[in-house]
Amino acid sequence: MRVYATVMVAGLLALVGVLFGFWWAPFLVGLAVGAVLPRARAAIPTAGAIGLLSWLVPLAATHARYGLGPTATSLAAIMGFDHAAAVPVFLTLLVGALLGLAGGWLGSAGRAVVASNARVDATRNG
């Protein structure tokens, strides 16, 4: 239960950060998630999902309010993908997810190093 609460709070923090213009918030939140959750196999995908959702939700809100079709088409044209509107959408969500994933991995890896050192110390002392 505590884990779910932690993930929910983390997700909210990332979302609020992005909404306030701190688009890199998913990386920091992912870092924290990776550091707090004990299992890397769960922490990293969770951080990635948080990154994805914290960029997806504002994008979806913009779509609901203004419509993203012409914007996505224009961005695709600027990027040289003719009018393939899906490309910028995919790229956007990919960047959000990558920020979360990278943060989660880094946090988790840091946690593993700390845990490893602790085990070594315990072995030496024991």
Partner: protein
């Protein structure tokens, strides 16, 4: 005794560190591409995040009713935006009007404005990298920045223009601050990864300088020098004469006064005979510059009709300036209402003035006058006087100005520009060459235009234009009292002696000595014929006592002017609808002259079945370059082949390195004249082709043309429609092809009033306006839309109307308030 751990345990102990190292590397890579541009991509996080990245263009595309505070306003201002985006600004003070105008321009065109000021200031490399370095270096050498600074320094505190420019800048900056604070900057800023600096009055003057350069900085003297050397002086003087060989339609037939000179302004001091070898590198350098930096011939129309020939009983005026057609367009449509101003029309974003339009009493439009305002001087130097040039019998030191050009991703470049009395040195390869350019003389053109916006009759209009220097324009006028006028306002520089169409020695004897007095420049007012017209043609007859430029590459060949005069001179009354139809007239006047002669030649020639069918198409043709016309295709390909057939052998045999396309207008006038009046001209008998006449060349060209068309379009002449080969494109200003419009099949060619040269055509009527003072109706349209945001419905919403040749009513501010679908902005102090 210490024992070491087994290898497998050591590996396991190292794993967390390896994992951490990999995580650090991957995180660094992700963060790098998120925060910094890499591999040609923008900073992905900054550019694509959903709240402050390029996606904000979705919200920016929506225009809603708003109430907002604007810093610097004195009184509330109301802005009404029509359903199509036309802005109507109503202010209680003139200062507030210009402040609001700056805000509105920047709200819809900030990126375009930033690009234009960067072009003039030589700062494009800062945002796009070294690809723009040559452009920046050239612009700084040419001196637009120097001129803009000098113009600003001329404006004393309290000068109304100075106050207007300051207010306008404040409005632009209000929008910049707002856009940054609300993450509403145009997406191009986000994608290029920079924020616009605050706007200054000098930026507005730079934008004006850009337009001056586009319209009248020419390389024609260099072309003539090369032709002299390569083609030979004999043919050059014969084929590229000062006066046009063909019959044209000057709007000012005289009589003319005896020649005299008026003083001309001084260049902003920073502050030959050229041999062909020296001309080549400079010519090559200018030829390599992007489109728009060197004027390559104009194409605009305007005319007016007096009440005596008007169906409504009031004066009629029509104008369609032809420019590079871009998205966003060069124009922004608005009305300005304040105690001192009641004007409507189009403005150039970045400048606080209606450039073409009408007020309560007068209407005006303009075309480029095309006279020579660019003169090249070869400076005399020697090794004993380093850093000096010989002028007026004295060794004179050059003045030097230094600039830094920041380059994205590269080291800052340093540029030193030397100035002689003639102007900036723009070539040091071969011979040191400086350029005297009219656009470098500081002038208060914005003050002139503001006075035009307020003028109420011809006298005030003409008096205002007395201060207009460059580029020289044909300003057409019509007022609510039924008067019409046309005046080619601006400098017509005169040299002391020499051949100004060639680079001249810079030793002083050939300097620009003055300009044609204002009362002697081409002009007409209420002429007896009841109509006036200009289409970049030479304005005066051969009797005009001044040199104003040669037939080659300065003035238009005159076919559009001929066609316009032909229509206006028809018996009967003319209406606004007739004006509209003439603006989209596709009748090729040159074709109407040449095709009958060609048919006569072909009637005596042996033709294949296909060629006979093509000939029949021409015989039944009305000379209109319409999309569905196959005869139009036959004519167009024939004419270009005929030119090639006549002149290409000369180019080849004399090893001419000037692009024939650059002088094709002049050659066309020659060919027209010889075809009609001098069929035995020696030009038809080029080395290697034997003795020929015009008819021989026509027949050969016709065979080749039909063969070429067949290869491209098939063997059925009825399917050779013009629209299959001739298209038009509105190019995205940032050169993003996916955001351009077209290419799409379109009518017209370079000779038709609906100008559409080239394949695809990217130039043409950038704004069409028709005014009928009899019915007090004002109509206009430009291709594009008010917004530069491609996600906005106002990006291309006017294109179809324009393409169909239709016009939209130009509502007054009061009329707009009761129009449907408007949005209102209340701007408060």
């Amino acid at each position: 005794m210490r024992t070491s751990a087994p290898p497998s345990r050591r590996r396991r102990a190292r794993l967390p560190f390896l994992n951490l190292g990999a995580a650090i590397l991957v995180s660094a890579a992700v963060l790098y591409v998120a925060f910094f541009p890499a591999a040609g991509l923008p900073a992905l996080g900054a550019a694509f995040n959903p709240t402050t990245g390029a996606w904000t263009m979705a919200a920016d595309a929506q225009v809603t009713d708003r109430t907002m505070r604007l810093s610097g306003l004195q009184q509330p201002v109301k802005v009404v935006l029509e359903q199509d985006g036309t802005a109507h600004i109503t202010a209680q003070t003139d200062r507030d009007l210009f402040l609001a105008m700056g805000y509105v321009h920047a709200r819809f065109r900030l990126f375009q404005m930033d690009l234009m000021r960067r072009q003039g200031a030589g700062r494009l490399s800062e945002i796009v990298g070294k690809a723009a370095l040559d452009t920046d270096r050239f612009e700084l050498e040419l001196g637009l920045l120097e001129t803009a600074q000098a113009e600003w320094n001329q404006l004393q505190p309290g000068d109304p223009s100075r106050e207007d420019l300051l207010a306008y800048s404040q409005g632009v900056n209000d929008r910049i601050d707002e856009a940054i604070a609300t993450h509403q900057l145009d997406a191009m800023f986000t994608l290029l990864g920079y924020q616009p600096k605050h706007w200054t009055p000098i930026d507005s003057l730079l934008v004006k300088g850009d337009m001056t350069q586009t319209l009248n900085f020419t390389d024609t003297p260099l072309v003539m020098a090369l032709l002299n050397k390569q083609l030979g002086a004999d043919l050059t003087s014969e084929w590229f004469p000062i006066l046009p060989p063909n019959v044209q339609a000057p709007y000012d037939p005289g009589p003319y006064s005896k020649p005299s000179l008026s003083p001309i302004g001084q260049l902003p001091a920073p502050q030959s005979t050229m041999n062909g070898d020296a001309a080549q590198p400079l010519y090559d350098r200018l030829a390599a510059l992007p489109q728009g930096l060197v004027a390559t011939g104009g194409a605009s129309n305007n005319w007016a009709v007096a009440p005596a020939k008007s169906a409504s009983g009031g004066a009629l005026l029509a104008g369609d300036p032809h420019l590079h057609l871009t998205l966003p367009a060069i124009w922004f449509q608005l009305t300005m209402d304040a105690p001192g101003y009641h004007a409507a029309g189009v403005s150039i974003p970045g400048t606080p003035v209606v450039l073409i339009g009408h007020n309560e009493h007068i209407a005006w439009s303009l075309t480029d006058a095309q006279n020579q305002q660019t003169f090249f001087y070869v400076e005399k130097e020697d090794a004993a006087h380093p850093g000096m040039y010989f002028w007026n019998s004295t060794w004179t030191p050059y003045k030097t100005v230094s600039f830094d050009i920041p380059v994205l991703g590269e080291a800052t470049q340093h540029v030193k520009v030397r100035w002689s009395v003639h102007g900036p040195v723009i070539s040091e390869r071969g011979q040191t060459t400086s350029v005297w350019w009219g656009g470098n003389i500081p002038s208060q053109d914005l003050s002139v235009l503001l006075n035009i916006d307020r003028a109420s009759n011809w006298q005030e209009f003409r008096d205002a234009l007395r201060g207009w220097f460059s580029p020289t324009h044909n300003f057409v006028f019509a007022d609510d009292k039924g008067n019409i006028g046309l005046i080619s306002a601006g400098y017509f520089p005169q040299t002391r002696k020499g051949q100004p169409w060639l680079p001249m020695p810079g030793t002083g004897e050939y300097d620009v000595a003055g300009t044609i007095p204002y009362d002697d420049i081409p002009q007409v007012y209420d002429p007896p014929a009841g109509y006036i017209w200009s289409a970049n043609q030479r304005q005066v007859t051969k009797d005009y006592p001044y040199y104003i430029g040669t037939a080659s590459n300065f003035f238009d060949p005159g076919y559009r002017a001929d066609e316009i005069r032909r229509v206006l001179s028809q018996p009967g009354k003319l209406s606004a609808a007739d004006m509209q139809a003439l603006q989209t007239d596709t009748r090729d006047f040159l074709a109407s002259e040449i095709v009958p002669a060609l048919l006569q030649t072909l009637s005596k020639s042996k033709l294949s079945t296909k060629e006979s069918a093509a000939m029949r198409l021409l015989a039944g043709w009305d000379y209109r370059m319409d999309v569905g016309s196959s005869a139009a295709t036959v004519w167009s390909v024939f004419w270009s082949t005929y030119l090639d057939e006549t002149f290409r052998p000369w180019w080849k045999s004399r090893a001419v390195h000037v692009d024939m396309g650059e002088v094709v207008d002049a050659l066309g006038q020659d060919l027209e004249t010889w075809t009609l009046h001098d069929a035995g001209n020696r030009a038809f008998s080029a080395p290697g082709v034997g003795s020929r006449t015009a008819a021989d060349a026509q027949t050969a060209a016709f065979h080749k043309a039909i063969s070429a068309i067949s290869k491209r379009l098939g063997n059925d002449p009825s399917k050779w429609s013009w629209g299959r080969v001739h298209t038009r494109e509105l190019e995205n200003l940032a050169q993003v092809s996916g955001l351009s419009y077209g290419p799409r099949a379109d009518r017209g060619d370079a000779n038709t009033p609906l100008a559409a040269g080239d394949f695809p055509s990217t130039h043409g009527p950038s704004w069409r306006m028709v005014v009928d003072w009899g019915t007090h109706t004002f109509q206009g349209v430009y291709p594009g839309g008010q917004s530069e945001n491609p996600a906005s419905s106002w990006y291309t919403n006017r294109v179809d109307t324009w393409w169909d040749g239709l016009l939209k009513p130009m509502l007054s501010g009061d009329e707009a308030q009761s129009a449907t679908g408007i949005k209102t902005w209340s701007l408060n102090p």
